[in-house]
Amino acid sequence: MAGKSGREIIAEQPFSWKTFFFKWEWFLVLIFILINIMNANLSPYYASVSGLFTATNSFLEKAFIALPMAYILVLGDMDISVGSIACISAVSLALAYNAGIPMAACIVVCLLVGTLCGLINGLIMTKFTELAPMIVTLGTQILYRGIAEGILGDTSSGGLTAVKWFSNLYWGKIGVVPIMFIVFIICACAFGFVLHKTVFGRWLYAIGSNKTAAEYAGIEVQKIRLIVFVLTGLFSAVTGVFLAARMGSTKSDIATSYEMEAISMAVLGGFSTNGGKGNFIGVVLAIFIVGFLRYGLGLINVPAQAMLVIIGLLLIITVMAPNIKNQIQYSMKKKNK
C-alpha cells in the first residue's frame, strides 16, 4: 500500500561497490597484510603455518577481554577494571587449587569470581546512573587489585603445572592449531553473531546511539548494561584462566594494563568510545594486527619500550584516518567550488 501521495519507498538496499570497498574493515585488512609482509621480510622463519599459529599464542589470551570490550564501547560505556578482574580471578583459581579443590571446580570458581566482579561494576552503574563508568571502574580496578594484593602480598600462588590438562589449555595444540586459538575463534564468532544478527545486538547499538530514545522504544537500558558488564567480568576471568595456565602460578601484579590493550584493540577495530558504532570483524582484525605487529617486532629484538611507541603511533594514526579522509574530501570540495 503506497501513501496518499502514491509515493513508493524503496525497501531494498542498492548494492554499491563504492560503499562496499570504502569500509573501515578493508583498511584494517590492508594494514594486516602490510604487517605480515613486513614480518615475513624480517624473519625467514615467520611465514610458516605452525609459526603463525604459535605466534597467536603470544597475544590471544588478552584478546578475550577485547570481545566484550567491543560491546561496552558500542553501549558508549567504559570498563577499565578488566585487568584487575583477570588478576583477581586467576588468583582465586590458584588459591582454590592450593586449598585442595579439583582443578575443574577451580576454573568454575575463577569464572564465578570474574562474573561477580562484573556484577558489582554493573550494579553500581545501573543503580546510580549518574556516575561516570570510567570513574566507577577506576575505583573497582584499584579495589580488585587491592584485594589480590591483600591476599598474596609479594608471594605467588602456584603449582598449577601439576595438572597437565590445565597447562594444555594454553600450551596444547590440535594438529598445528593451539587450543586457545580454537576457543578464541568460537567465542569471537559467537560475539560477532550476537552483535550483528540478534535483537540483543540491535539493542546495544540503539542504546549506544541514543539512550533516551532507546528507553522510549521500550528497551530496558539498565538491564542490558548490567548484562554486558557481567559478561565483561566473565570474559576477563576467561583471560585469567589462560593466564594461569600459561604461567602455572599467579601473582597480584599479573594482567596489568590489559584494559588499555583491550580498549585499543576495540577502538582500532572501528568501535567509537562515543557508542553506537563498529563492526565486529574489525575488532578481530585489530587483535591480530596488534598481536602480529608485536610478534614481528619481537623477532628482530625491538626493545619493549620502542614497541610501545610503535603501537601507540599505530593506534593514533589509524583512529585519525577517518578524520583525515573527511578533511581531504572537504578541502577537495572547497577547491571545486
Binding site: M1, A2, G3, K4, S5, R7, E8, I9, I10, A11, E12, Q13, P14, K197, T198, V199, F200, G201, R202, W203, A206, S209, N210, T212, A213, A214, E215, Y216, A217, G218, I219, E220, G276, K333, K337
Partner: protein
Amino acid sequence: MSEYVLELKGITKIFPGVKALNNVQFQLKPGEIHALMGENGAGKSTFIKVITGVHKAEEGEMYLDGKKVNFKGPKDAQNAGIAAIYQHVTSYPHLTVTENIFMGHEKKKNGIIQWKEMHEEANSYLKELNADFKATDEMGTLSVAQQQMVEIAKALSMKARIIIMDEPTAALTKRESEELYRIAEKLRDEGASIIFISHRFEDMYRLASRVTVFRDSQYVGTYDVDGITNADLITAMVGREIKDLFPKPQVEIGEEVLRVENLTRTGYFKNVSFAVRKGEILGLTGLVGAGRTEVVQTIFGVEHFDSGKVYLEGKEVKIKKPVDAMKHGIGLLPEDRQKQGLILDWGIGRNITLPEVASYGKNGLTNDKKERQVAKELAERVDTKVVTVFDKANTLSGGNQQKVVVAKILASDLKVIILDEPTKGVDVGAKAEIYEIMGELAQQGYAIIMISSEMPEILGMCDRIVVMCEGKVTGELDRKEADQEGILKFAMAKSLKATQE
C-alpha cells in the same frame, strides 16, 4: 530620506546545488514591526543571514536609508545598526550578563576594560527592559526568556536601528511571550524597526503591521496584517489551499479504554484523573509547566508515580517501565523527537522497527527482510517523504521526522496513542498532514491523547479537552462548549484565584 529604512531587491543566494533564495525582495519601513513568514526551508533564515552579512548574495542589491550598501561580513552589518536575536541564544553561559552584552565591543580605556561603566550601562538597559535580574548575574543561571532579554540589551548597546528576531517566542511561555511583545512594541515606539520571524500566527496578529511571505525560496507577497485572513496567509505560505486545516472526522466514540485515577507524583502533579475512549481524541492542555508531559511520561512508565491507579479496559494495570506500557497497548510520541523519539544517524527503517524488533524474527534473531518490509509499509502509511528506508533520520525536515516517529509508534499493536506536542516546530503543510493522520487513527479505533499548547489545534482536533494548571486538573470541556477563553480560564485558574484573593 527614503521611504524605507531597509530595502532588498532581487536577492539570489546559491548554495551548491540549491537556490536558497531566488530573486526575493523586502522593504522595511522605519518604526514598523514586520513579520516574515514561511514554511521551514522557505529561505527565511538564509535571508536573515544575507541581511546580517553572514552570507553574501550572488545577485541583488541592498539599500539602507536609500543608500546602497555592500556588507563584507557581520561586522559591517553591526556597524550599520543591524542586530539579530536568534531562537537559540548563542551566549557564553559562564560569563556575566554584562560580559555577554558587551562581548566584542567592550568599553576600554588605554586597553583596560572599564567594568564599572559597563555594569552601569548594562543595568540601565536591563532597567529599561523591566528585567528582573542584574548585570552581574551569570548568564547560565537565567531562563531562556531572560537570556533573550540579554540579547535584546546587547542590540540596544550596539545602538541597533534594525532588530531581527528569529522565532523568539518558540521557547517561551505565554506570559514570557507577552513580556517580549511589550519590549518589541517599546523598541518600535522608540524608533527601531523590527523584523519578526515566527511560526505562530498569534505573534504576527499581536505585533506586526505588515507581513512578508516566502515560499520555496521565492517572494510571495507583502500584506497588511489587518487585511489578511488566516486562510489567505496559509494559502500564501503553503501554495495550495488548505480548505480545512483541521480535518477532524466524525467518529463513533466507543467504550472507555484508558482511565487514570488520582495519579500523584510529589512535586509534579496531584490527583490527576481522566479517561479516554475508543475513537476519541482527548486534548490535554495548559500552560507550559502545568505538568502535562510529566503525567503522560508517568502513564508510559518513563517516570514513576507515588499514588493513583491506571485502568485499561476496566482492569487495573501496573506499569513500571515503557515496555510494560507497550505490552498493554499504550504508545507515546515523546515531546522531543530528536532526543527521545529518533536515533538520528540511523536509517528511518531501523528507527521505525526498533520498538518491535524482537517480533520480526525467531529465537532472538533479527529478520532484516521482514523489518524493511514493515518499515516501508508504515513509512508509506504516514506518507513520509523519503526515497528509501535507509535514508538517515537527520537528513529529514522536522515534519518528516515527526512522521517517522508516528510510524514507529504504529509498529506496535496499540490501543492508546499519546502524542506529546506532535506539531511542535513543524511547518504548516506538515502540520495539516499530521492532523489528517490523527483523524485516520481515531477512525481506526485508537484512543488518542494529545498534549498541546497550541489553542487552535486543541480546539480544532479534540473531542474533549482536559485542562491542567500547576499539576492539577482544573477543568474539562466538551468540543461543543470549548472556546479559547474557557480554556484559558482553567489554564490560569491558580493565578486568577490568587489575584481574586
